[in-house]
């Protein structure tokens, strides 16, 4: 009897997951639907007449956008880790005055709506002439990730045993040397978590891209999709094909790094 309940729950779980993921399935289905069937009523539940015209449109039109997003994501990761990791080490291990206040500021900073930061950035970038540039957008995107990164890093680094750091000190290592050669390698897991989220957020960003980089030559994939939607002759198979391609980082992340993802979700919410 208990085995029967066991499998009933599994079936229910599969059904619930299928319902939850239906929009994702639908995105893939529409991306493979020929334009002539797009307005068919009712729509086909399965891709009966598979076409790759949507994906060939992606290949022809969206590659520069994808490349931009890739650079954007990597740039944001590097900037975020470079700013957050040393500071988190100081907060966790060197215990400076005002550490509590800074942690508090990090929590508050995560609550400020990006749209408001974007407006301030717009005014500043306009004056500096860095609107529509990639470095400008990288800096803006990193503001989403830096407070989160500081909190994750300092939570992790405060778990590094003091004995380990003191041993290095006795051997004559400077704080910088200790940080570089011991703290960072030991903190590999948190670096992965932070990098994954920083990349994903920069890759997915729409607010900063649409306000700070709307007229630039190098625009990210989110704006590529947005421009598609705005077109009058909406090619939904191309839109959905781009959406599928834009979802690849999220999918890769989930497959290769699921434990880091859960860690990030939980930690971002409740750690300090």
């Amino acid at each position: 009897m208990s085995t029967r309940r066991f499998s009933f729950k599994t079936i229910l779980g599969i059904v619930l997951t299928a319902i939850m993921l239906f929009p994702v399935y639908w995105m893939i289905n529409v991306s493979l639907t020929p334009s002539k069937d797009m307005r068919k009523s009712p729509p086909s539940l399965f891709p009966v007449d598979v076409t790759f015209e949507g994906y060939s449109a992606v290949l022809q039109q969206q590659m520069p956008f994808l490349g931009t997003s890739l650079i954007l994501g990597l740039g944001t990761v590097i900037l975020t880790v470079a700013v957050a990791a040393p500071a988190a080490f100081a907060l966790a291990k060197l215990r400076p005055r005002g550490a509590g206040l800074l942690n508090f500021l990090m929590l508050i900073a995560q609550m400020i709506p990006a749209i408001i930061i974007a407006m301030g950035f717009y005014a500043i970038y306009l004056g500096m002439g860095v609107l529509n540039t990639l470095p400008g957008l990288i800096v803006a995107d990193s503001t989403i990730a830096v407070p989160f990164a500081v909190l994750i890093f300092s939570a992790f680094m405060s778990g590094i045993p003091d004995e380990l750091l003191n041993a290095a000190k006795i051997d004559g290592a400077s704080n910088w040397r200790t940080f570089r050669s011991i703290v960072m390698p030991v903190s590999r897991n948190s670096v992965v978590t932070v990098s994954l989220f920083a990349f994903l957020w920069a890759w997915s960003d729409f607010i900063f891209a649409s306000t700070l980089n709307n007229g630039g030559a190098l625009r990210p994939i989110t704006l590529g999709i947005y421009a598609y939607i705005g077109n009058n002759n909406q090619q939904w198979n191309a839109i959905m094909a781009t959406a599928v391609v834009a979802s690849i980082p999220a999918a890769v992340l989930l497959v290769v790094a699921q434990k880091y993802v859960s860690a990030g979700v939980t930690a971002g919410a409740v750690k300090d």
Binding site: L12, L94, I116, G120, A251
Partner: protein, 323 residues
């Protein structure tokens, strides 16, 4: 050890419990030099915060207090306007509806995200074959770029060719103009937003459930409690601190939701899905002639709202940490 141990998932990755007390004497002697080096390690972050957080926020306050036109925005010589922008915003006919849409959107989103998330967390926590894999798959909506989710929902809710209306027709129900009717546009963006937010609630509440000792359930089972009683008498009360955190974070995050609404409806039709967040974007970036002053004023209002919830959240969260 706290009865509800929410950091479980993190600790799988990081054995992060501060054992701060064991400060070596040698380290203490070097206290002064440590202070300097702490300052050096912190300097990039402090500089970063000053330039990329404090200054934009300051510019935003400045924007909201001046009467900007496109021209004076570029030249930077707008006259001081005092609170005119704020008065404009409060007396605008858009203000009332935008505020009420924001409240509806936030409350309804959170009720459903939390309710569904909790039900799923309890279900997955009961443990069955494949539960780990399926729970991981549930994260997908949360990880997708918002523009992907929003455009997929746009097409699913399309009046003529959307799968949702096709399903309604198949069930003999009338079709709904989800995105083009003022009566339904807020419902449409709510559906998409709830879908996106469920995974986050599921993950946090699930890790909260993992922290509840199984002994309590065993004791209850011996006393003859049924599943329903266990849920109401044990799970829900012991999950209260985690629930409070989840809901407060939900409030803060939902207040700033902009992408989904903007991509699906642009706040329309006729302002029927305009929230404070989409309104500020509409004024600042959504039209040919930007109106930065009022846009910044609404933005500052949003910050105040978010920070108020933030101030409620932080003590709740630190109480949870210190339990």
């Amino acid at each position: 050890m706290s009865p509800v141990n929410i950091g479980t998932a993190l600790r799988e990755v990081s054995p992060a419990v501060a054992t701060a007390d064991a400060v070596d004497t040698r380290v203490r002697r070097a206290a002064a030099s440590t202070r300097w080096s702490a300052a050096a390690f912190l300097a990039p972050l402090l500089l970063y915060l000053a330039i990329f957080y404090a200054y934009p926020l300051y510019r935003n306050i400045e924007l909201s207090l001046k009467a900007y036109t496109v021209r004076s925005f570029v030249q930077g010589n707008a006259p001081f306007a005092g609170l005119d922008n704020y008065i404009d915003v409060f007396t605008s006919p858009t203000f009332g509806p935008a505020l009420s849409h924001t409240a509806t959107f936030t409350v309804v989103s959170i009720v459903f995200q939390f309710g569904i998330g909790l039900a799923l967390a309890v279900f997955f926590h009961s443990g069955f074959r494949l539960s780990g894999t399926l729970r991981a798959l549930f994260l997908v909506p949360w990880l997708l770029p918002l523009i992907v989710s929003a455009s997929t929902w746009s097409w699913m809710l399309n009046s003529d060719s959307g799968i949702v209306n096709a399903a309604l027709t198949a069930m003999g129900m009338p079709q709904i103009n989800w995105l083009t009717s003022p009566d339904w546009s807020l419902v449409a963006v709510l559906i998409a937003n709830i879908w996106i937010g469920v995974p986050f609630n599921l993950v946090i509440l699930y890790s909260g459930l993992q922290g509840i000792s199984t002994d309590v359930y065993e004791a209850a089972a011996i006393d003859g409690a049924n599943a329903w009683q266990k849920f109401w008498r044990i799970t829900l009360p012991l999950l209260r601190p985690v629930s409070a955190i989840t809901i407060l974070l939900g409030l803060v995050y939902t207040l700033k939701v902009f992408d989904i609404i903007w991509i699906m409806t642009k706040g329309g039709p006729a302002g029927s899905s305009t929230t404070l967040a989409t309104w500020t974007y509409q004024l600042g970036f959504g039209s040919v002639l930007p109106d930065f002053g009022p846009a910044a004023a609404i933005g500052n209002l949003l910050i105040v709202l978010a920070v108020v919830f933030g101030f409620i959240y932080i003590p709740v969260q630190s109480r949870q940490e210190n339990q």
